[in-house]
Amino acid sequence: MTSHDSEGAPKTKAERLADLLRAEIQNEHLGDGEPVSGERATNRELDDAIDALLRSIEVPVRRDFQVQLTQRVRSLMEVRRWTLPQLLEIRRAVSSVSRAQLAEQLKISESEVGALETGAIPLWKAPLDPVGLAVRWIKSLGVDAAQAKRATLRLLPRAPAPAFSSTASTRDYEEAANFVRLLTESLDQIMNVEGS
């Protein structure tokens, strides 16, 4: 077994472990299958060896898929930037507002508020502008309107303004729903931490 790769660089432990397994399998028919090496490895080193073996399974991904996933990851990271005091403040505001009051403030039905709270928002069924709804929702939680608008526009995809007009697509509504879902999940996580 060589201790260097094809370009002459020393092999990593992960690569050596993968080689070891490969060699033992290739020699399987020669003996009784007893492992020949006394090498030891940590869990992390075993993981790395498997990662090295599985690197060959990479497949090209669709451009649309990659763009959409990147946007979702960006949104998630944006939500992570909300500070703990900000999130706690929002959560307190949520606690002090009843569903009926929130529904009145948002000019939507109570059941839609319920859907907002759980993140399962059928926005595409409601004749609402996603940015407007998100801004109104955050504003109703006691956050300054300008701050709410900035946060919303940051969280929503950086699409050209016309996309958020009355002709907004289903995708725009889905993105807005995704934003609210992420924020709601963050709030829930904070509450779990707070309650533990």
């Binding site: 472990l17 993968a18 070891l20 397994l21 490969r22 033992e24 399998i25 290739q26 399987e28 028919h29 009784d32 299958g33 492992p35 090496s37 006394g38 090498e39 030891r40 490895a41 869990n43 992390r44 075993l46 993981d47 790395d48 060896a49 498997i50 990662d51 073996l53 599985l54 690197r55 060959s56 399974i57 990479e58 497949v59 090209p60 991904v61 669709r62 898929f65 990659q66 959409q68 996933l69 990147t70 979702r72 990851v73 960006r74 998630l76 990271m77 992570r80 930037r81 999940e185």
Partner: protein
């Protein structure tokens, strides 16, 4: 003058994860470009019966979950790709549970378990024991068992990844499992004399 390094080239996995935890937006972009192709490839191997659209959805959910729970990732316990594959397997299990068509279950087709289900604590103990026993096996035995039983790869996929014969893979795995069973048997405490069978 030397060329500036592309961040995607110099950043290893651990640095990338730390950047992600620190809120570096570029890290999110690199995360997707680095791991989405691997996650999708892995998903094709473990879920060949699932449509490509659903596999993309599963990968999307797994990456989202990984980013969301990134603070819980512990690099001393394993690598990030292994952690992501674990999340993906959980997403696949959840998806399969949801996707079971109820109408396909034949009348009387569900067997009622006769024994009481082991408690979570017993499950945890069993996991610890298996994990401890696995650690006593040779490295190559541990690798083949992990690839087949933890990562859920078929013998064909393992053979492809290693560039070896599928039958030899099957045989090597069988022997590794036998050695694990031997270890488990030798570990069992002897029954007290006169005890019930």
């Amino acid at each position: 003058m030397s060329q500036p390094l592309n961040r995607g080239e110099w950043m290893n996995d651990d640095e990338l994860i730390q950047a992600l935890i620190n809120g570096d937006e570029a890290a999110g972009v690199f995360l997707v470009s680095r791991f989405a192709p691997r996650a999708l490839g892995y998903c094709r191997l473990i879920a060949p019966d699932v449509s490509e659209t659903d596999r993309e959805l599963l990968c999307e959910k797994a990456v989202e979950t990984a980013v969301d729970k990134i603070d819980h990732f512990d690099s001393t316990r394993g690598s990030f790709p292994a952690w992501l594959r674990g999340i993906l397997r959980n997403e696949l299990r959840a998806w399969r549970r949801k996707s079971i068509p109820v109408t396909d279950i034949p009348e009387g087709g569900i067997s009622v378990p006769t024994n009481e289900r082991a408690s979570d604590q017993e499950d945890l103990r069993a996991e610890e024991v298996v994990s401890e026993l696995l650690g006593q096996l040779a490295v190559s035995d541990q690798l083949i068992i992990r690839l087949r039983d933890l990562e859920g790869l078929s013998y064909g996929s393992i053979a492809d990844a290693l560039g070896v014969n599928e039958a030899a893979c099957r045989q090597r795995h069988k022997r590794a499992v036998e050695r694990l069973k031997d270890l488990a048997d030798s570990r069992q405490t002897p029954r007290p004399k006169g005890g019930s069978q």
